[in-house]
Amino acid sequence: MKKFDKERVLLAVAGPVIALVAAVVLTSFVLLASGKSPIEPYTLMFEQAGFADVQVLIINQAGVYYLAALAVAVGFRMNLFNIGVDGQYRLAAMMTAVVGAHVSLPAALQIPFLMLIAVLTGAFWAGIAGVLKVTRGVSEVVATIMLNAIATSLIGYLTLTEVWGQPLGNNQTTGVMKESGWFPGFDMGDAGEIYGFTLIAVLAGILYWLVLNRTRFGFDLRATGASETAAAASGVDAKRMVLTAMLISGGMAGLAGLPILLGDAHTYSLSFPTGLGFTGITIALLGRNNPVGIAFAALLVAFLDKASPALDYATPVAYDKEIAVIMQGLIVIAVVVSYEAVRVWGLRRQQRRVGAELAAAAANDNSKKEVAAR
């Protein structure tokens, strides 16, 4: 028993470790090829991570990534590829900002209310793709990509001054939200403030684990992801499952923009971060859809994000901070390759071990019987 547990840990860790090592090595090659030191950028980035203010930035960023990645992971667990997290969280953040600027409840109600708005908006946007897939068989990949583009246009329209927008300098905002909807953060003194919403992200991770691993619904969802045919034969209604998973994924995506919106920006503007959803895909992949794995992956990517700008100002030689982007890209490729390799290797290895143990047991049995026969 013990042995197989150790085995599982080994398999779980081997994939990411191999991927990261490969990504670092390949990045170093890129650096070498451009005639730069293949090592110094890493030391520079690690130095950055030592500063308290950078640490706060990393944690804040990781919380955002974590929510986005959970949203992607819910889909992944049943072989649904929700590429639309990006559009879902942006639309949800915008809607929440608008509502937050016009509705004023006590904080104890306002914040849950705003979260509900965000979840519903995200779920609605993802639900469109879900309904299309269930009723018309439209691939959710295509539908969600299209919905991303539509979301961009829709947000552009809704934030027009004639609609809900409010110009502020040469920025276009949705107006400042009522203060009861500001999520209090943890003051870290000079280092800045950690978003309070990061706690919600942690809770979301726990909830994700609980639902997937401890409930009937989670089992059905994982079964559908592992084998659609077996799940159907076991009594899972595949269509309902697809729709539900899309709604949950979208709802989770809706939350992804809130740490920034409720903790810092307090308005949706042109400068609201975009692309979180795509980074979320990278992180979900790297974290193998596992809530703890995703947490590590989110921290890693946040670290690359927040420690790399310093490369531009390094002396005597400046490095391009895009190195971090290159590395992220390489991580994705390495992850896909190494996970599949490790999975196949692990499966074979276990098959052999089981064979070996059974053969050993059979041999024991036999020799006993033969002795008994004599």
Binding site: M1, F4, D5, R8, N213, R214, T215, R216, F217, G218, F219, D220, R222, A223, A226, S227, T229, A230, A232, A233, S234, G235, V236, D237, R343, L347, Q350, Q351, R352, R353, V354, G355, A356, E357, L358, A359, A360, A361, A362
Partner: protein, 554 residues
Amino acid sequence: MSVELAGITKRFPGVVANHDIHLSVGKGTVHALVGENGAGKSTLMKILYGMQKPDEGTIAVDGEQVTFASPADAIARGIGMVHQHFMLADYLTVLENVVLGSEKLYGIGNGAREKIKEISARYGLGVRPDALVEDLGVADRQRVEILKVLYRGARILILDEPTAVLVPQEVDALFDNLRELKAEGLSVIFISHKLGEVLSVADEITVIRRGTTVGTAVPAETTSRQLAEMMVGSELPTPETAESTVTDKPVIQVEGLTVYAAGGASLGETGTVGDTPAAGSLALDAAGGDAKRVLDDVTFTIHAGEVMGIAGVEGNGQTELVDALIGLKNADSGAIRFIGEEITSWPTRRRREQGVGYIPEDRHRHGLLLEAPLWENRILGHVTEKPNSKGKGRWLDIKGAQADTRRIVEEYDVRTPGIDVTAASLSGGNQQKLIVGREMSHKPRFLIAAHPTRGVDVGAQAAIWDQIREARREGLAVLLISADLDELIGLSDTLRVIYNGRLVADADPATITPEELGSAMTGAASGHLEHVEHEEQSSQVAEAAEAAPEDEAR
């Protein structure tokens, strides 16, 4: 000698898969390799085909000692393998499938087409190069696989359990092909555990047990009983049920069940309609518009304690019947009643909760989550029921499920080092025992058993038969679908034959022979099948099916 394996030993860490194996195959002969599942046949063939390297021992081809680093080396030496699971691309034509990967041999155009026709004609394979593979039946696909191997210049063919997917008549046709190959001086290594077939086609038989060769026999001087005893080292079990336990309490009543073909994806062979006539002699020529009805007015009743067997060539509606009963397909018309209750519109889960057990035809696709641990597989299909869940079935009861998995492993003799290993790491027989154990643990009142012992070794087969018999004594109604006619005849209380989506004939398992059943399966006979003289009532197929008594008089 065209192939000679001497002293082959292959160790995997901690286990000896092959130990001191000797095998010599003469030119122009069919050499059968028999043994239980897991005896080491596959490993040995992988070694010969260059997929594994032996730790000890030598391989000689045509008297010349060789080492293979990969299947490509083996192919270059004229060794070809026809895998048990066909490796064909459905949406490509036969020609495209054959040239795929060997484009350099004869090109991809007319040169290749001519070559395929030539090979097909020389060995009587009847393969048409421009037919789409998805339109072909199982037997035809197998011939394409054989042709693929011959096209690459193989002189030695390895056939891995080629008859597992065929009905008796198709098996005969395959054996005719093998005799043609033999006559042309090719050698065939034929892997099987069906002893009757082995005796009829092989020139020489090597028996392998526990990883080593235990003997060689010549068919003329041996019986299947002797072979079986060499194979398992003990007596061969038989599927015969003792006394009848049939009651008059109907458990499942199916009336006028009709299912139309939708989409066509799952229909396989019966779906060859109109403009693309099926290639090859054995494909079913379904008559035009009728082919759209994959199940046509099927009516039957199974009582408590009764096993009803359904015989039929694969693709005649069995899959659809099973799907309709378990709720994966909706009935287009007709009704299904389960202990008096109308369940036609029930979803799958509700049916399973109410006591419909399901041993699926394809356990990998429908019965297991291969990469999940055994205990999760124990939950599959019964997630809302105890001991798998608690709190009105919303929360998983992992401890309960694990404990019960241990019990199943123990009681059903699932050979595994633990319940945390993945289902994929068990052998087919043990996977099947786990599924049977799981289904039986929920005390089903109606069991759908589709090919319950397919690909299962003799020991596990006997255990599964015992389970079904025991449950039957306790009042279980069973729908048994099997390609193994001996199993069907041995276990069933009632027999029906399905052809082209209809139940066309019935028979008394006490007197019928596999051959008589076989002829009804191809549509040659219908109505009530009597032993000795097949009563030909073929002109009234439909009437006979309807007139057939709903519940067999016992």
